[in-house]
Amino acid sequence: MSTSSDSVPVVRARGVTKRFGEFEAVRGVDFAIAPGESFGFLGPNGAGKTSTMRMVSAVSTPTSGSLTIFGLDPAIHGPEIRGRLGVVPQEDTFDLDLSLRLNLEMFGRYYDLPRTTIRERTTELLEFAHLSDRAEDKVDNLSGGMKRRLTIARALINRPELLILDEPTTGLDPQARHLLWERLYRLKRDGVTLIITTHYMDEAEQLCDRLVVMDHGRIVAEGAPRQLIADHASREVLELRLGSEHHDEVADQLGSFAERLEVLPDRVLLYVDSADDTLARLHQAGWRPERTLQRRSSLEDVFLRLTGRTLEE
């Protein structure tokens, strides 16, 4: 049976909503993800990313709208769809009564895989996750980064065509994050379709071919990271910390120096073509900011522009 070809999106959502009682977590989203693509969902906590992920994982059903995964309806073909995908949930949840090795092996059994296949893959995946020497330990004794790697290894036991990662690197130290990213690149190179939610801009820029920005259950922008930045932000940003003065009051006076400006509680962001030139002009005009930072625009700025909020809020 062949339901996925290049013409059929791996996931297609049209007007998908998810309601929990009175609360509408997802308010009608549309997107299509092509085979082999790395697709990101970017947004602050409570934007509806996790609810969307659970629907795309064929674990929860949409309240309304149409959703297909591998061209199949998850309400009817749930088990078949789940058999072809791997899920890395936000929380690492393991079978705490079993060792690392048995956690992986048992997972393989849930997918109905033959025992010899499972044994080969378990050894391979423990290697992949850099956990071979901990194979016989209980999961409880692992560090946060190790648990995360084990969750990813577990999600690969069935050789998924689509891997769904919900906040894969939240709570990890930089070294562990880079190790994880490297593993994800390898999977992408092998042709696995990736769906990633994150509220880290650098992660989205690094990993995603294309992404959507979600806010309050809706998709507010869609595109390649570079394209989104080009469309919704200026080339560069000049950040000013003005010390004791009230940022609100100075905003009016600074307006003429930038295409656009954002006033945050602790700093003012000037969206400009060249941060160098703007800073020079500010100095000429007699401004003496306490601290300045010049940088290229990032997805963070896109998000701020689209939602009026920073991601960490």
Binding site: S57, V59, G83, D97, L98, L102, M106, R109, Y110, Y111
Partner: protein, 261 residues
Amino acid sequence: MSRVLPVLGSRRARHVVERNALFYRSQWLMFASGFVEPLFYLLSIGIGLNHLVGSLTVGSHRVSYAAFVAPGMLATSAMNGAVIDSVFNPFFRLKISHAYDSILATPLDVDDIALGEALWALTRAGLYAVSFVGCMFLLGDTSSPWAILEIVGALATSFAFSALGLAACTYLRSWQDFDLITLVSLPLFLFSATFFPLSLYPRALATVVAFSPLYQSATLLRGLNSGQFDGWMILRLGYLVALGLVGLAVAARRFRRILSP
């Protein structure tokens, strides 16, 4: 689709049984203790009270007190085993370790998990029931070869209580709530005509006791133990199986609400 029964899970439920078997492989001592347990029951109450009480009438037979109380103990043991297996472990995996959440990412469905846990409790109970009936035979507490059918009766008992226990565990909020389980199972144990005949209860209480699944189980097993068959047995067996099916349906619904809202 490979559904055994609609709403009650598929063949994939067997992997949940397999998982529990895998776990108990490393807990063999705990597992093995279940086989010794019948001796505790039978020797403590049976032998102890046998001398004080003498013999009793079951149907048209006179039997020793030990032979009277043994099926009651078998019923109680089937209930306790089922409750422990279906309440404690699933509660931990449902609400503490969230191990079920990760299983739901696989082809298994919520119904499969509920059915799998009930089947596991049943498997374990079946093994213990065989051991229990064997001990009764060795100690001379059986008075008919039909006593072998008590294994079936004990399985029905385990099924009823494991399914009810599984449903109950979904309502528990913390470890403190486990007292509620004791609050139900202890009176069931004390007031289900497991130690003495229903005829000794006041009439009003006896009517209430008739609804106790443990009473129905003990009475069914007692009849089988002395090889006296009657039409009520089918009803008693049916009652236990029906409770089990209702419990399983409730458990599956509650599991779905918690795991996959």
